[in-house]
């Protein structure tokens, strides 16, 4: 379930290019009522984006992000819906915490938000949360994101018991005894810089375990923020043998490699880490083929003073809600690495389907979830500030091509440039 502020839906007219045609879309009280041919325009109109992986830091770290600021950032990034991860303080592991969040979202969310609940109490990896009650109260899915479910036994129980909820189980794959003390991908660059390595196998080993458990239990599973070639290979093998596995990848893993860490900029430190060029190529190939169906920002805001420290002391995570489209348009579509239509699909329909949400579409009778884009405009990231409360963007200062001009979310105008 998604939650946002109530209020009157809007009447709007948007004109833009959809595929090869230029259309005029009329929205009456939040619903698309008419689609007509229009005169040529340079603007692009698309189903608005869905971000399956956002950290809203609320409750606990409202200095870094709130539901209001995070959803405003999402609207500015072209998103009509986002899913928030439960690794907050306290963890979203009870109906009480979830209920408080959904109430806040009803009061201040600019775009609809879904809240995932934790798989284990306190994300401690020992006891299952009350998944049934949490689902009844509107949990959008279950995840211990930020931490792996280290116990295979508990993971199996989550797959078994989670079946009663009908919700997606999303897993952060990391074998902690292999990633321990790792600050970046283990390889040539970490050897030279002296960082403790977080090897690819720390991810792919857990991916293989979770896929094996999902196969054995005959249950679907969603793999969060894949980073390693071996993980993509394991995913594709499982999909080939009939496992209902979906996966997501972040813009930073698609655009950067571990070479970026040579700058020692704390804004390229994230978990999972940036990996080698061969990993990036595999992620891109998976995204193109569709084995990886979703792009997720893994928007992870951090207070400035926490990132303004030596790389080795900095926390993992970067922001992304406001830059996903432009980053991928600039770094993948323009150089010809990814077709625009594929990018738009992986930003919208792919993630919606992974969580059983109705995909945004441009069709008469559909609720208006639209984004209007200018693919000619350039802008400098950080210029004019962010809607997010945090500024730990890996793109800070970069000039990107592609701007969000307007976002309509659930029939309401959520953002206009």
């Amino acid at each position: 379930m998604l939650f946002c502020t109530n209020g009157r839906k809007d009447d709007l007219i948007l004109e833009g290019r959809v595929g090869d045609e230029c259309v005029k879309v009329t929205v009456d009280q939040g619903v698309i009522t008419r689609i007509e041919p229009a005169v040529a325009t340079g603007k692009l109109l698309a189903p608005a984006f869905v971000d399956p992986h956002v950290h809203l830091r609320t409750p606990g770290r409202e200095d870094e992000e709130t539901i209001a600021s995070g959803t405003a950032a999402a609207a500015a990034g072209g998103y009509c819906a986002i899913l928030a991860m439960p690794n907050t303080e306290p963890v979203v592991d009870s109906a009480a915490v979830l209920g408080a969040l959904t109430e806040t979202a009803r009061a201040e969310a600019r775009v609809p938000v879904g809240f995932l609940a934790a798989i284990s109490k306190g994300q401690a990896g020992a006891e299952l949360t009350e998944m049934g009650e949490l689902a009844d109260r509107g949990a959008a899915g279950f995840s211990d994101d930020g931490r792996p479910v280290t116990s295979a036994g508990l993971m199996r129980r989550a797959l078994q018991y989670g079946a009663i909820t009908g919700r997606t189980l999303a897993v952060h794959c990391e074998e902690p005894t292999l990633s321990r003390d790792g600050h970046m991908h283990e390889g040539d660059v970490s050897a030279e810089l002296g960082f403790g390595g977080y090897p690819s196998v720390a991810e792919s080993l857990m991916v293989e375990r979770d896929l094996a458990l999902a196969a054995y239990e005959g249950r679907p599973i969603h793999l969060l923020h894949l980073s390693a070639r071996e993980s993509v290979e394991a995913l594709e093998a499982a999909q080939g043998s009939g496992v209902e596995a979906t996966a997501e990848v972040t813009p930073h893993h698609l655009c950067l490699t571990d070479e970026a860490v040579r700058t020692l900029d704390p804004n390229v430190k994230m978990n999972p880490p940036l990996r080698a060029a061969s990993d990036r190529d595999a992620l891109l190939a998976g995204l193109r083929s569709g084995s990886i169906s979703s792009i997720a920002s893994d928007h992870a805001p951090h207070a400035l003073h926490e990132k303004d420290v030596p790389f080795e002391a900095a926390p993992f995570g970067v922001t992304g809600l406001e830059t996903s489209f432009a980053a991928l348009y600039t770094h993948l579509v323009e150089p010809g690495l990814l077709p625009l239509a594929t990018l738009l699909q992986r930003l919208s329909e792919g993630p919606a389907r992974a969580y059983g949400l109705e995909p945004p579409r441009i069709a008469v009778g559909a609720p208006a979830n639209l984004v209007l884009l200018d693919t000619e405009a350039t802008w400098r990231v950080g210029e004019g500030g962010f809607r997010s409360r945090s500024a730990n963007s890996w793109l800070l200062g970069q000039t990107l091509r592609g701007r969000v001009l307007m976002t309509v979310a659930d029939g309401k105008l959520a953002y206009a440039a």
């Binding site: 390889g187 020692l264 303004d308 790389f311």
Partner: protein
């Protein structure tokens, strides 16, 4: 609106670019050769009765040490004093760092005194870059985590050059815990820069995956040191070995397999160690005290090489040794 436009060619020339010594990667072969030549000139000056040179009079050098150090902090301080600079030494213990002040705030506080150089040692990789970004000072990295310790590599080159007579084609075996060693990382790069050959020798878990890309060979057999002109022994960094990490089963087994003992070095083979030594662990006391050991020479080189580094950063950069220096050391 008041908009003033100035053509670029009408702007007054800016000050020369501020330079730092954060990583050996920042240096060219010419830079290294220049620094070693300047160090030689300073070495000659140390033989005089009046050891102090007026070169950096009025300059301020801050030594900011977040980790314990004997030889590095002492030699930077003495190097600055020998060049007549004013020095301040700040250690994390007993300063506001103890009260939880962040590195950035400490750097900004020190920057208020307009230091010309900040020499920093810090347990975290990336600390020198942070201080470089938030102050106007030239930064000398005196060790950041497991990343770099460039002045150690320079003093090691200086020591090797003087003991063996050449650097080009020299074969150096670096033995021990490469994984946790910033000394090794800087030295591998420095040796590659001057055309020496490097072989790393140690237990497999302590030879980082991918290290060969830095331009060296690796071996897990101690016999691989036999061909080397110089055996460079690394300290077993017990404080960096987390409990249960199992890099080696025991120091006893390490010493038995990779300890540098008299039986394992050839007569005439030079032996070096960055200190502090764990005698009886990575190096046998007999080897450490033998005539072929250059360990005391390394310490002596540290002073003149650090003088050269401070001098170089505070004069206008990659040019031949300026006449001023030649005059003073003459």
């Amino acid at each position: 609106m008041n908009v003033r436009v100035m053509r670029d060619d009408l702007r007054p020339p800016g000050p020369p670019a501020r330079r730092h010594l954060i990583s050996i990667r920042d240096l060219s072969r010419e830079d290294v050769e220049r620094l070693l030549t300047v160090a030689e000139q300073f070495e000659a000056s140390l033989e005089r009765e009046m050891k102090k040179l007026p070169t950096l009079r009025g300059r301020t050098v801050v030594n900011l040490f977040y980790e314990s150090s004997t030889r590095t902090s002492a030699s930077f301080e003495l190097a600055a004093k020998r060049l007549s600079a004013d020095t301040m030494s700040i250690k994390s213990a007993g300063s506001s760092v103890d009260k939880g002040e962040s590195l950035k705030d400490t750097a900004l506080t020190l920057a208020a005194y307009d230091p010309d150089v900040i020499v920093i040692r810090h347990p975290h990789i990336g600390a020198p870059q942070l201080v470089a970004a938030c102050t106007e000072a030239r930064i000398v990295n005196a060790g950041d985590g497991k990343h770099q310790h460039p002045t150690q590599a320079l003093l090691d080159l200086y020591t090797m050059k003087h003991a063996v007579g050449r650097l080009e084609g020299l074969h150096v075996a670096i033995v021990g815990d490469v994984l946790h060693s910033r000394v090794a990382r800087s030295l591998i790069q420095a040796l590659a820069l001057v055309g020496a050959r490097t072989t790393l020798v140690g237990p497999p878990p302590l030879l980082p995956r991918g290290i060969e890309a830095m331009g060296c060979e690796t071996s897990t057999e101690i016999d691989a040191i036999v061909d080397a002109d110089v055996v460079y022994v690394l300290r077993m960094q017990r404080e960096r070995m987390q409990e249960g990490a199992n890099y080696v089963p025991s120091l006893r087994e390490y010493t038995a397999r990779w300890g540098v003992t008299r039986a394992r070095v050839r007569p005439g083979q030079k032996v070096m160690h960055p200190g502090p030594m764990n005698r009886g662990v990575e190096i046998d006391p007999e080897v450490a005290d033998a005539a072929d050991a250059l360990i005391v020479e390394q310490v002596r080189s540290g002073l003149v090489v650090r003088m050269a580094v401070l001098y170089d950063l505070l004069t206008t950069g990659p040019a031949p040794v300026p006449a001023e220096a030649a005059m003073e050391v003459a």
